[in-house]
Symmetry: C2
Subunit: 235 residues, 2 copies
């Protein structure tokens, strides 16, 4: 079972050579991103909401959005599509037509449900902090019951999923190879900067060891993937 089974929602129709149903590929795209976009429909109107997501096995969680109000009244749950995209490069060709972008994208389908049971919700909320920053919860002021109540968490079992990746240099038509203009890829990376301490932080409060993965200049996707792996090892 290394592949997801493609269904009507997830089968890749355009550029199938860029597509994959491989679980490890889908998981890596999800786990190395902080932001997902969630599509859902309310009264026939589609919405696309950015959110912080995290994965546990074949379950995807995210922080509640305007869909939460809808979900509160929806016993059977709401069909959703959650998409994570990394932009990796601008692809410049000798023809306008062959311009493109390098990217890694995962589209994941399932039925969203609100996590309402207090113990499950508390566990999920501790999990997102430790998934992003393994070891952080142990140093934080504990959550209060009121905080747990005030946060909404959405849960979705992954039913179908696919990945699409473009990660090569420019695909110029053969006869364009001598056209006298520069062509190639301009790489794009999302990186971490120098931490900006809270203005109310007591002087000389050190960066804790658990934040080592997020060192200045590091790629965010690598820091997130490392942290995910570290979290999986600890739990």
């Amino acid at each position: 079972m290394n592949d997801y089974t493609p269904g009507p929602r997830s089968r890749i129709k355009r550029n199938p050579k860029r597509g994959s149903y491989d679980r490890a590929t889908v998981h890596a795209i999800l786990d190395s991103a902080m932001l997902a976009h969630v599509a859902y429909t309310i009264d026939g109107q589609p919405y696309c909401t950015p959110t912080i997501h995290w994965r546990e096995g074949e379950i995807l969680y995210w922080h509640g959005s305007s869909a939460s109000r809808m979900l509160r009244t929806q016993g059977p749950g709401l069909p959703v599509c959650v998409t994570v995209t990394h932009l990796d490069g601008l692809v410049l060709a000798r023809s306008a037509f062959n311009h493109s972008a390098n990217f890694r994208c995962a589209m994941v389908f399932g039925t969203a449900r609100l996590v309402d049971e207090p113990a499950e919700k508390e566990r999920a909320l501790y999990a997102v902090t430790d998934r992003l920053f393994p070891g952080r919860n142990a140093e934080l002021r504990p959550m209060t019951a009121q905080e747990i109540k005030a946060t909404s968490v959405v849960r979705m079992d992954i039913e179908e999923a696919s990945a699409k990746i473009r990660g090569v240099n420019v695909g110029d038509d053969e006869e364009d190879g001598t056209w006298p203009v520069w062509a190639g890829v301009i790489p794009v990376t999302t990186t971490l900067g120098t931490p900006e301490p809270s203005p109310v932080l007591p002087a000389a409060t050190p960066m804790p060891a658990h934040l080592a993965a997020y060192s200045p200049g590091r790629q965010l996707d690598e820091a997130l993937q490392d942290s995910f792996t570290r979290w999986q090892t600890q739990t």
Copy 2:
């Protein structure tokens, strides 16, 4: 008319202090991004597809996706929500609850239609290349009729729109100010790397002047905003 009029689709309900309907704010978020996520519904199933988008006044265009097949059969068009999100920082607090992300997000609503009229489509396809890389079309091998036919372009008049921005340091509860753990913001930027020439590029083909905005180390959002402004000035 500096603000969009909020309607049932776009009215901001959560954290309204972070929200805005200001046109310039929405436009800047759209114009400084290359990727948008488009939500649409087919037979009750929502989809969230990443795409390259571009704006001309109050019209948003994007490259066709699996929605194109649907649009081809939909005279009146398809309701969509197009969302652009920039991740700007990880916000680490003294409590799990106050952890957050810095971001700039625009959500734009309208009715998507396929651009099928050949002249309008040709114009739109030249526009996206010049919007991203002003001056590039003049140096490229011209598009062929077949290429124009093979690309799908979707157009949407912006009917409603809102922006949401978090761009401050950590919002710890006052009583948490002395909790002895590091808190603050780890900035996140998306930047351009060193160009990788096409393997079939004749040696010594220079980077053209029209790519100056995309110099190594530059932030992608700034390069895109600059290019947009330069394109607007030229046309």
